[in-house]
């Protein structure tokens, strides 16, 4: 059947080489594939596998030091042989691309309408009036509310999800026959991701646009793609239909990718699940108590000589207790205040109000010197492994740093010995001791970050999105490492992440944050089996599952409306519009204990919420 259809895009023996100071690097080593009209082909691989470069070459966007050989055929042109002028005719009109970061791919000083007009002007002969009408139509079509107003706004005034929708609308303006989506949802929250994927799927079915989807997320692939190519080190290790790949993977690498994906529907499936149950008798008293912590930032609005300041309530009254050896997962979408909360607990940002009690003594209000003593037991692991290490220090210097401050009585040799032992524990080879962070991979750097946090044997470690920037296989290793260390040192962890599937694997209890407030807190099993709050339900339903049959059968729960700005005073009542209608705009939903240990914030019922939209 597929032999009869002529593919619109085909790649023959494509090789891409980058010349660098240390010699030539072959990023793509001879790949072949094709895309048929109206088909969605997924290119899956981890970072550095060369998956994006293939399409960068097709769009003529290779970096200056890169050369491509072979053939890329699109509508009877070999794209590699076209001049820039000829290529300009093809790209944008017949073939368009959406990128990972929707903010950087829109020009900041032009309104949405101006940018869309530009695309139309380049590729189509149309009057200004028709152009504007078409732009408006597309903006409606990608389901952006208040199209008229949005068109005259600048990119920074839109949320991330809206920007990505604008990008999709722009790339669809000229009815391209091929849409290349390079990690289109990686930078977005799960609920927004679900909406964007639905939108792309709809366009594919309505317009017959072929989609090339480049991603690292097997869940996204399971939802969207008809065929899959698994890429590693510049080569395809496996290719086939979506069901073949998921239910009958042949190559070890594909199996490993599928295995290491944390699954929200069935956490026990993954092999590295080692979470130790916590002793229910352990008292939470006198360990870590966070009581009604608030962090407000003053934001200046409408400049002028005497600008008004308005508090931005990043964290607005969060309380919880943590037991020794327990892991509390904190989940929420971007901007919900989870990182700010972590920093407030560690006093890296002083809380505006409320108390943090550590081992029975309050942490806030301490002087720097007093705090320094406590810091020994309180450590943090950051999201970006490279950014959290000083680029000018060797990794052993970085790991040693806490020793130098807290154990200055030790001799240099003893410190070195400790550093080496710690490196063994986190799985770094001893001969890497003099290396610099930029010479290591992301996973290795994260191990260095963990070693630095662990070297003083702290009692509490906060992992702020510690595995979010890593590839899934590395992510699985790091999680395993964290759990091993937790067992060895009897650590308590605050595990912050936007990825609900990962949090489920590592946490005893889970707390869901929404705009700086707790909406639900319960045992990890409880919250996934029986989510009560509509926001939790929405989050859980939006996480893609790496299993095409389950994923396509699932219906994600949609609650109308964008994620509101935290500056909007009515935002905190998004899940209680009944109070808004009653005029009680200052009402604060209370946390109610439904079952023992299962707290849920007051809300209207899900059906009511969906009906009001």
């Amino acid at each position: 059947m597929t032999d009869l259809i002529k593919p619109i895009f085909s790649v023959d023996d494509l090789k891409i080489t980058f010349s660098t100071q240390d010699g030539d690097v072959e990023a793509v080593k001879g790949v072949n594939f094709h895309i048929n009209p109206g088909e969605c082909v997924g290119i899956v691989g981890e970072s550095g596998s060369g998956k994006s470069q293939t399409f960068m070459a097709a769009m003529g966007l290779l970096a200056d030091n890169g050369t491509a050989t072979g053939q890329i055929n699109f509508q009877d042109h070999n794209l590699l042989e076209l001049s820039t002028a000829q290529l300009n005719h093809v790209r944008g009109k017949n073939m368009s691309m959406i990128f990972q970061d929707p903010l950087t791919s829109l020009t900041p000083h032009m309104t949405i309408l101006q940018q869309m007009r530009e695309v139309v002007k380049l590729h189509m002969q149309m009057s200004q009036k028709d152009t504007d009408a078409m732009c408006r139509q597309w903006i409606d079509r990608v389901r952006i509310a208040e199209a008229e107003r949005r068109l005259n706004q600048y990119p920074h005034e839109l949320s991330g999800g809206m920007r990505q929708r604008v990008m999709i609308a722009m790339s669809m303006l000229c009815d391209p026959s091929l849409l290349i989506a390079d990690e289109p949802t990686t930078a977005l929250d799960v609920t927004v991701q679900a909406e964007i994927l639905d939108l792309m799927d709809e366009l594919k079915r309505e317009k017959g646009t072929a989609i090339a989807l480049i991603t690292h997320d097997m869940g996204v692939v399971a939802r969207m793609c008809d065929r899959i190519h698994v890429m590693r080190h510049g080569q395809y290790v496996e290719e086939g239909g979506v069901e073949d790949i998921f239910y009958n993977p042949q190559h070890a690498y594909t199996k490993m990718l599928l295995d290491s994906m944390p699954r929200i529907d069935n956490p026990d499936k993954t092999s590295h699940h080692k979470l130790k149950p916590i002793d229910q008798q352990t008292s939470a008293e006198n360990f870590l108590e966070v009581d009604d912590v608030k962090v407000h930032f003053d934001i200046k609005i409408n400049g002028g000589l005497w600008p008004k300041t308005v508090p931005l309530k990043a964290v607005d009254g969060v309380s919880f207790k943590l037991r020794p050896g327990e892991t509390l997962g904190i989940v929420g979408e971007s901007g919900c205040g989870k990182s700010t909360l972590a920093r407030a607990v560690l006093q890296l940002i002083p809380p505006t109000d409320g108390t943090v009690t550590w081992l029975g003594k309050p942490l806030n209000g301490l002087s720097r010197a007093q705090l320094k003593d406590k810091r020994k037991d309180l450590q943090i692991v950051f999201q970006d492994p490279l950014a959290s290490l000083d680029p000018r220090m060797t990794i052993s210097d970085s790991i040693r740093e806490p020793l130098v401050t807290f154990a200055s009585h030790m001799s240099r040799k003893e410190m070195q010995e400790q550093v080496l032992q710690m490196m063994d524990k986190v799985g770094l080879e001893r001969n890497m001791i003099n290396r610099y962070p930029h010479e290591l991979s992301g996973g290795q750097n994260q191990r260095v970050g963990i070693a630095r946090a662990m070297i003083m044997k702290p009692k509490l470690v906060i992992c702020d999105e510690a595995v979010s920037a890593l590839d899934v296989s590395v992510q699985a290793q790091i999680i395993e490492l964290l759990m091993d260390l937790q067992e060895e040192f009897k650590l308590s962890l605050l595990f912050i992440s936007h990825d609900l599937a990962v949090v489920r694997e590592v946490s005893h209890r889970i707390m869901v944050l929404y705009l700086g407030r707790v909406v639900e807190m319960a045992e990890s099993k409880d919250i996934y089996a029986n989510p009560m709050h509509p926001y939790t339900k929405q989050l859980i339903s939006a996480v893609p599952v790496p299993d095409p049959k389950i994923e396509r059968a699932r219906k994600s729960i949609k609650i109308p409306g964008e994620l509101p700005s935290p500056m909007d005073p009515t935002a905190k009542l998004k899940f209680m519009p009944s109070k808004l209608r009653a005029g009680e705009t200052n009402y604060i939903p209370k946390l109610i204990e439904h079952n023992p240990g299962h707290f849920v914030a007051e809300h209207d019922s899900l059906t009511d919420l969906q009906a009001t939209g």
Partner: protein, 309 residues
């Protein structure tokens, strides 16, 4: 023999697996890139040669820079042209002093003014900027407004007034130039510090209990070095130019010491008498020197942030 071979093998084995691999720091990477930049490398070689010559040169010349060749006095235009025979390789100046020796001394003085002035600027500017940027808030405001005030003072007038009041001396020149050249550096460093201080590794250091002062010295300043080095290589020629301008006005260096600017000034005065060598030799050194500095600066900039190319 056999045993030895085995031993060697096992040693090689253990070497490869246990010996720490030497890491390549960002600094070494940058130097590697710099060495690949031909224009910058050649400039560096030329500059080093020039500096070496300025120190070795005087020993090769039979004349020193201040004694007058009485045989030529008053006849510089006719007999003072460059010649190997009488030992005046670059000819003589109007007073019959050996131009070669004077150019060598002028080179030393000019470079010294540039380097000492820059050293003051780097030390004061980096510390001032890093402290201001790191602590931020009111301290930052006060420190930066102070810089603004200093910058709005027309420093050239002040320098000239200082020279007129206290007489011409090389120390006054160092103090004067050092006093006014650190402000730009402080501003640049403060801006960079603001960017660096929100990086996660600084936060990690705070979380690890490292004191503020140590954070500035161990984490912030080393990460500023790239931009400081680049700015330094541009500041040196800037100061040399300033000094030349002051000397050209007839202020600055006290005779019989001299500098590039003073020599060019002298040469320019006598250009109508046909003694072109009095202008051309110092001018050639001056232009070549500055050219080298700018090329090196450019090479350093490319080496330290390869992304911007």
């Amino acid at each position: 023999m056999l045993v030895n071979k085995k031993k060697m093998e096992s040693m090689a084995d253990s070497m490869s697996s246990h010996a720490p691999i030497e890491g390549r720091s960002l600094w070494q990477d940058a130097m590697g890139r710099f060495m690949h930049n031909k224009a910058a490398l050649i400039s560096l070689i030329v500059l080093v040669t020039m500096i070496a010559t300025s120190f070795i040169g005087p020993y090769l010349s039979p004349w020193d820079f201040e004694s007058i060749d009485w045989a030529l006095l008053g006849n510089a235009a006719e007999m003072g042209a460059p010649s190997i025979e009488n030992g005046h390789y670059f000819g003589t100046d109007d007073l019959g002093r050996d131009q070669f020796a004077r150019v060598m001394v002028g080179t030393q003085i000019s470079l010294m003014v540039g380097i000492v002035g820059t050293a003051v600027a780097v030390v004061v500017g980096v510390l001032y900027g890093a402290i201001s940027g790191y602590f931020g808030g009111r301290l930052d405001n006060v420190m930066m407004r102070f810089v603004d005030i200093l910058m709005s003072i027309p420093y050239m007038f002040i320098l000239i007034i200082l020279f007129v009041m206290f007489g011409r001396s090389i120390y006054l020149l160092f103090i004067g130039l050092g006093l006014f050249s650190w402000m730009d550096m402080a501003r640049i460093v403060r801006g960079q510090t603001l960017a660096i201080k929100h990086k996660e590794y600084i936060e990690a250091a705070v979380a690890a209990g490292v004191s503020d002062f140590k954070i500035i010295l161990k984490h912030i300043v080393p990460n500023l070095l790239g931009i400081v080095v680049v700015y330094t290589s541009l500041l040196i020629p800037g100061l040399i130019l300033t000094e030349s301008f002051i000397s050209f006005l007839g202020l600055g260096i006290q005779e019989p010491l001299t500098s590039w600017g003073a020599l060019i000034n002298d040469g320019a005065k006598t250009i109508q008498y046909g003694t072109l060598w009095q202008l051309l030799f110092p001018l050639a050194f001056f232009v070549t020197g500055l050219f080298c500095f700018f090329f090196i600066g450019d090479g350093l900039r490319d080496a330290f942030d390869p992304k911007d190319r």
